[in-house]
Structure formats: C-alpha cells, structure tokens
C-alpha cells in the first residue's frame, strides 16, 4: 500500500490531456495561421469589449440573483428537521440530473409570445409580455440552471454549524438577528464563495443559454468562442486568444474574491 507508482498512468494522462491542451491554447493565441508569432489577436480584442462587458455583467447579475434566492432557501432548508429536509435536498438535486438543454428549452415555450406564461397573463386580463429573446430571459436561464450550485454548498456548510455554538451565543444574550449576523452568516461564507464560483464560471462562458433564450440577439463570450471554432467565423487563433483572456479574468476575479472572503471571515470571527 506504499506504492506511488500506480498514479503514473494518470500523471501521464494529465500531462497529455489536461496540461498540453492548455499549452496548445496559449500557442494558438500567440500565433498566426502561418505559425508566426503575433500579438494581433490581443490588440484586436478591443472590438469585442462590448461582448466581454455584457457577459460579465449578465453573469454578475445572475450570480447576485442566485445568492438572493439560494441563500434563504439553503438557510430555511437547513432549519427543517427530519424527512422534509432529506427530501428537499433530493428535490433540489433532481432537476440538475435532467439534461440541461431540455430544461432550458422548456423555458422557450413557457415564455414565448403565445406561450404558456403569456396565455396565463391574458387569461387573467393582463397584457402579454415580450420576455423571450431578451437579456432578461438569458439571466433567467442562468439562474434556473445554476441555482442548485448555489444552494448545495451553502446548505452543506450551514448544516455543519455546531448547534452548541448558536446556543452559546443565545445564552450570552444574542437575539436571533445577532446570531445570524455574527455566527451563522460568517460561518456560512465559505459555502457562499464556492457557490459564487460555481454559478459565475458557467454563466460567463455559456453559449447554449444565450442562443436558446436570447435568440441570437444577446452575443456572449461563449457564443464568440464557439463561432471561432465550430461556427461561421472560423479562426481558432482568435478563439484561443479570447478563451485565454476570459480564463485569466475569471481567475483574477476568483482569486480576489477568495482573498477578500477569507479576510472578511476572519475579521468577523475575531
């Protein structure tokens, strides 16, 4: 049981299929079609500033909405006792196990001009709304698809909080608002941080949601990258440059957030 050698196949595998692909992306990003080194792809990225801005903005809004819905949900579920709690967690997981294209697609006909939702509105005498093919619909799709990723980590962190810590605070005279502000919330912060990562990264890089619910009008980074590799604007070198920049921005965001979050957590605990 002391052998390290049996990890060798996977180490080789990672070198070839995890590290090498990223190296290839970097190589493509800095070269032209004839393999001469260039920085052109990065200098021309300025024309896509709008797409970058829109992607990060929509992903940011979706993440905030996920926190606003997901945190209370996780908190309430963690307070439930017995069967309902176990069932509730299973019910949160269940939609995640269904094909996400199908789940997103069902919103298309729920929100269509003559769809379910608008028929419901006109049935009760309200005017129809144009929701589909707007940025709002794209955000809704992101929230719908990635909300469980926010709820699950928060729930598992709150669930592990020792009830005696809360009792101790109550014994020392804290009311429930103080208990939440000084105990529960700081202790649940790691869950919120991983929830943010798990919602933000897929939101900022999606191309399926924007294509299905945005009707091609809301161009996001994912769409832009997909177009460079499999779409009309075939140019893997530019696509690599966009991917690389997106990856770096996301890494910086997450790094800053995690550092900020750690500092915050400690400060409150002290």
């Amino acid at each position: 049981m002391k052998s390290k050698g049996i990890a060798i196949p996977y180490v080789v595998w990672m070198a070839v299929f995890v590290v090498a692909p990223l190296v290839v992306v970097v190589v493509y990003a800095f070269t032209n079609r004839d393999w001469s080194v260039t920085l052109d792809h990065f200098t021309t990225l300025g024309q896509y500033a709008g797409v970058f801005g829109r992607s990060f903005l929509l992903a940011f809004v979706a993440t905030i909405v996920c926190i606003l819905i997901g945190y209370p949900l996780a908190y309430f579920l963690a307070r439930e006792r017995g069967r309902l709690r176990g069932m509730a967690m299973l019910l949160i997981m269940l939609p995640m196990w269904m094909n996400f294209l199908l789940r997103t697609y069902s919103w298309v006909f729920l929100l269509e001009r003559n769809g379910f939702f608008n028929n419901l509105l006109s049935a009760i005498g309200l005017p129809k709304l144009d929701i589909i093919n707007t940025s709002g619909a794209v955000v809704l799709g992101m929230v719908y698809n990635f909300l469980p990723f926010m709820v699950l980590p928060i729930f598992s962190v709150i669930e592990k909080i020792d009830p005696r810590v809360i009792e101790a605070a109550q014994d020392l005279g804290a009311d429930s608002a103080t208990v939440f502000r000084r105990i529960t919330f700081p202790l649940s912060l790691p869950g919120v941080l991983s929830g943010i990562t798990m919602v933000f990264i897929p939101s900022v890089s999606t191309f399926v949601i924007s294509r299905l619910l945005g009707g091609g009008k809301t161009l996001l980074l994912g769409d832009l990258i997909e177009m460079q590799f499999l779409g009309s604007a075939y140019n893997p070198h530019l696509g690599s440059a966009i991917s690389l920049v997106m990856m770096v921005i996301v890494l910086i965001c997450m790094g800053v957030m995690n550092r900020f979050g750690e500092g915050e957590g400690e400060a409150v605990l002290l």
């Binding site: 049981m1 595998w13 299929f17 995890v18 590290v19 209370p72 294209l101 598992s156 997106m246």
Partner: protein, 318 residues
C-alpha cells in the same frame, strides 16, 4: 435554531415551483395531440412512437451509453489507482498533482472542450505532416512502404475527453475514504502473511469501495449529462444524445423532444430510487456491523452528501 414559519415555507414552495414548472410542462405536453406547445389538443402517445422510429435519436442514445459506460469504467480504475498513489505521496507533490487534477473541474466547460479539440486537431495535423515527411524519405520510396498516419475527431477523441473530465470526480470521492482508512490494518494483514496485493484486495479495497462506487456513479452522470465538451470533441460523425437534443431544440418544432425529456426524467427518477434503496440497505448493514463490533453508529455519507461536499470543496483546494 428556530423552526420555519409559514412565510419561509411559502418561499421554499415558490422556489420549488420555479424549479419544477418547466419540467412539469414538458411532461404534460409530451402527451399533447397538437404540434403547438401552448394549446392542448387531447391525449396521444404518438410522439413516443415517433421518437422510437427516429434513427438519429437511437444511434445517439447508443453512442451516449457506450461512451459513458467505457469512460466510467476506465476513469474508475485509473482514478482509484491514482488516488491511492497520490495518497502515498509527500505533501508537496500531492498538492501540485491534486491542483492539476482540479483544473478540469474548475475550468469553464467550453475552455476544456475547445482546448482538447485544439490538441486533437494539432496532433492530427502533426501526424499527417509526419507521414508526409516519412513518405518523402528515400528508403520509404525504395521499399514502397507508405505511411498514412492521420486521425480525425470521432468516437476516440470523445472517449478521451470524457475520461479526462470523469477521473477528477473519482479521485475526489475516493480520497476522503483513503484518509479515513487506518494505515495499520493493511500492515497488520501483511504481518499476518498476506502479500501486498492480497492485503489490498481483501482489506483496503472493501474499505474504500463506497467511495469508488460513488465516484463511478458521479462520473457516469457527468458523462451522460455532458453537452459542451462532447460538442467540441466529437467531430461531425459522432453525436451524443445531448448533441441531438441541441440540434432539435434549435429548430424548436418537434414535440418528440418533450417525449424524450419525459423518458429521461423518468430514467433519472428510477436511477435515484434504486441508488437510495441500495444506500438504505447499505446503511442498515453498516449499522448492524458497527453494532456487532460495539462501535458507535455512524451514518455513512449518502451519494448526495459526497456530491455536495465535493462541490463545496473545489475552490478552496485549488
């Protein structure tokens, strides 16, 4: 902590409504005798019949099941071995390797897909120029021996991609079981004359088995559910079910999709019930065993907990 009041109960209910309304509507309209997704035209099973006569869907289903099964099998074996190897390493190399292991988990799917596609295309081109170069060598011309090294995106590349994003999940669910393992018991078995392989098979493997099974189940689910990475690495010849759904969904007409989603939902439901029954059975067995040993009863983590824990752990271990 205080109990939930009626307001928080209402909030829970509303969020569940939000999560389930689309699925519910899909299921209801899969029995709708009308092409429209808004008007109810009576009950029918036609869409199910049409679905099973659709060759594209059936062959995609075959590809999906085959690639998921093979990827899970290979990822479970390689991943379990790698987890044991990592566990035996010193802190520093283990940290670095686990960091690399986390890359496919934390990277956006599109980046993983695109980067692997580029690698495959690049390798294909390199092989093609290699065979061109070889074919120009004199001894090759003299011997009339032609090289035709080349490969395209297809089932092979799809399988490689799936194995690559499956292994990290296996490692993340086997690792905690290894940490819980008492290192003395394997040594005790060896002191009693077991070879190290025998000790592994009879002592270590049964202890980490729940982690291995969970890892395999998560890997299988991830493979079945994947769209983005398959989309970039499968090429134009192979299609998984998700890719067929994507092309169907973009045309937005056929209620066959509703039938397909209903069937997939029912399949997932059945799978979950089976897993839960198995888990309950295992828990009971475990409790009995612990009781017999006089040890305190500890409820083993369910599949769900393992998933949530891994989900929660990702960024901090990066």
């Amino acid at each position: 902590m205080k109990r939930n009041g009626p307001l928080s109960r209402l909030f829970i209910l509303l969020v569940f409504l939000f999560l389930y309304a689309p699925i519910f509507v899909l299921i209801v309209f899969s029995f709708n005798d009308s092409k429209s997704n808004a008007v109810w035209g009576g009950f029918t099973l036609d869409w199910y019949v049409q679905l099973f006569q659709n060759d594209t869907v059936l062959s995609a289903l075959r590809t999906t099941l085959l690639v998921s099964f093979l990827a899970t099998l290979i990822a479970t074996v390689v991943g379990t071995a790698a987890a044991i190897g990592f566990y035996n390493m010193k802190r520093r190399p283990r940290g670095i390797l686990l960091g690399i292991n986390n890359i496919p988990l934390t990277n956006a799917d599109i980046i993983t897909g695109v980067s692997m596609m580029l690698l495959f295309v690049f390798a294909g081109q390199a092989l093609a120029s290699l065979s061109g170069w070889l074919n120009n060598l004199e001894w090759v011309i003299d011997a009339n021996l032609w090289f035709d090294l080349d490969f395209n995106l297809g089932f092979g590349t799809l399988l490689i991609a799936h194995i690559t994003f499956d292994i990290p999940y296996v490692i993340l669910s086997v690792m905690p079981k290894l940490r819980q393992l008492d290192p003395n018991i394997a040594e005790a078995a060896q002191d009693l004359g077991a070879t190290s392989l025998y000790a592994f098979r009879k002592v270590v493997l049964p202890e980490i088995m729940p982690g291995v099974v969970n890892g395999a189940l998560i890997a299988f689910t991830m493979s079945i559910d994947d769209f983005v990475i398959s989309y970039f690495t499968a090429g134009s010849q192979e299609s998984t079910l998700s890719m067929v759904v994507y092309s169907m969904v973009r045309r937005r007409v056929s209620p066959e999709i509703n039938a397909l989603s209903t069937l997939m939902f029912v399949a997932v439901l059945v799978l979950l019930v089976v897993i839960n029954l198995r888990q309950g059975h295992q828990d009971a067995k475990e409790a009995k065993r612990r009781k017999a040993l006089g040890a305190p009863t500890i409820a083993p983590e369910s599949i769900m907990d393992i998933t949530t824990e891994n989900v929660g752990r990702e960024p901090s271990e990066r």
